[in-house]
């Protein structure tokens, strides 16, 4: 059963040996020649799965990777709802702020850190979709994670998020400074995605 479709992958819900699993498959793109398409899909699949495992080892709540195929990642099914679909709160924002700080301190930038990629179940938050993630300690790339969240939630909610992030992060102040710098650049001003 298809439960989601992104630009480069489809998400299925599958029952394998009595176990409910989420499968993310990078489909063949007709518009790319196979010589470009195949190695790219293989590389990105491995990279995404690898980063999920690194994040998990660093103590960040991500779906457990069960198996990795050539173009697919089999992972644990997470219960609950997406943060974008429920009432946001100070508690959630502080939690995802701390979670991002931990992720950045372990060397991972997410690349698409928005309420559409955070699952909430009770008091538990789980970060999903590492498709655009990377290993990086660059404050610029870290700032982008904050910027995306800033554009996706209200100003008040973002303040809780940022406060929690800066307090929990090893170099939160530097990232906050970089964020101000990034925002000042003209090209970003007209690029806000509403």
């Amino acid at each position: 059963m298809v439960i989601g479709e992104g630009a480069e992958a489809q998400i299925y819900l599958e029952n394998i040996l009595g176990l409910e699993m989420v499968v993310k498959v990078r489909q063949r793109k007709e518009y790319r020649i196979p010589e470009i398409d195949e190695p790219m899909r293989r590389r990105r699949t491995r990279k995404e799965a690898g980063l999920m495992i690194v994040a998990s080892k660093a103590g960040i709540n991500v779906p457990h990777v069960i198996a990795v195929g050539k173009f697919s990642i089999y992972m644990e099914k997470i219960g609950g709802k997406l943060l974008k679909d429920i009432q946001n709160s100070k508690t959630y924002m502080e939690k995802v702020g701390k979670e991002l700080a931990r992720m950045h301190d372990s060397g991972i930038v997410h690349g698409d850190y928005t309420p559409a990629n955070i699952m909430i179940s009770g008091n538990e938050t789980t970060i999903i979709d590492f498709g655009l993630a990377d290993m990086s300690l660059d404050p610029e790339q870290k700032a982008v994670d904050l910027l995306l969240m800033k554009r996706s939630v209200t100003r008040g909610m973002y303040a809780h998020f940022e406060h929690a992030y800066v307090n929990a992060s090893r170099n939160g102040t530097a990232v906050k400074k970089q964020l101000a710098e990034t925002e000042r650049r003209g090209r970003y001003q007209s690029r806000t995605l509403s």
Partner: protein, 324 residues
Amino acid sequence: MRVIGIESSAHTFGVGIVDDGKILAKEKEMFHIGTTGMIPAEVAEFHTDNAAEVINRALKSANLNYSDIEGIGYTRGPGLGPCLQVGYLSAKTLAKKLKVPIAPVNHGVAHIESTRLISGMKDPIALYVSGGNSQILKMDNKPFKHYRVLGETFDIGVGNMLDSFARELKLTPSWGSSIEKKASGGKYVEMPYSVKGMDFSFTGLLTKAVSMIPDVPAKDLCFSIQEAAFSMLAETTERALLLTNSDEICVCGGVAQNSRLKQILNLVAKEHGARFGFIEGALNADNGAMIAMVAERMLLAGHSTSIDKCDIEQRFRVDSAEVF
């Protein structure tokens, strides 16, 4: 409204005449870049020498006299300063002499809008690819009606990249199509691929391809550089399409004449049930008709600029121009 449009942002001095969105004339003279590229002062001199003749030719082919013209449009930017100056002065002179309103037009907006209007699209994702520009855009109504840049090149335009590579290979420059011609039957060799979200960059690709020149056959390099560059454009366009829930894609700018690029984008559109729009070859290159089309809409919306307030702006960003 019979409007004459003058384009001179780069190597082309183009004059077009439209009436009610219909193109009555499109004439141009192109400075031949040869093997040295463009030297702004030389190109401007070329435009100065040709301006009067091209304007007269356009009027003649539309079967009109100077007195029939009801409005004027010119390229305000972006472009090379000395070149823009020639078109701007020609337009200003005409406006003064004929006592008709004048409208300064953004070059990028003209490419996108002419493609959108001629191909009959409503609100497409526009891939604007030329020598100097490579951007993915969509109309946005806030704070005013303009094209918002969703993604763009971090360094050079894809056309510039292809032309530079053609020069390295010492291919006869034929307005960007030399790579496409040489690429047929080539084999793929691995190339860098740099996409970040909806942005992309081309200099790494160029450097890598140039470094392989004596060792790998030229046609393989041409094929590979083209496939890699267009795959990057296709992937980012696809991402923009899904992110904005659009159902139309259009391609414009000089590189839109490349048939492999159109084929690739058509596949992207097909995969997501979107419509794909483009216009016939020569209208994708810089021309005066697209300037006239946008100027007519501006003037009909009552948006003329007084002659002494007209100017040029070399870095006139596409997203800072109001669209009517």
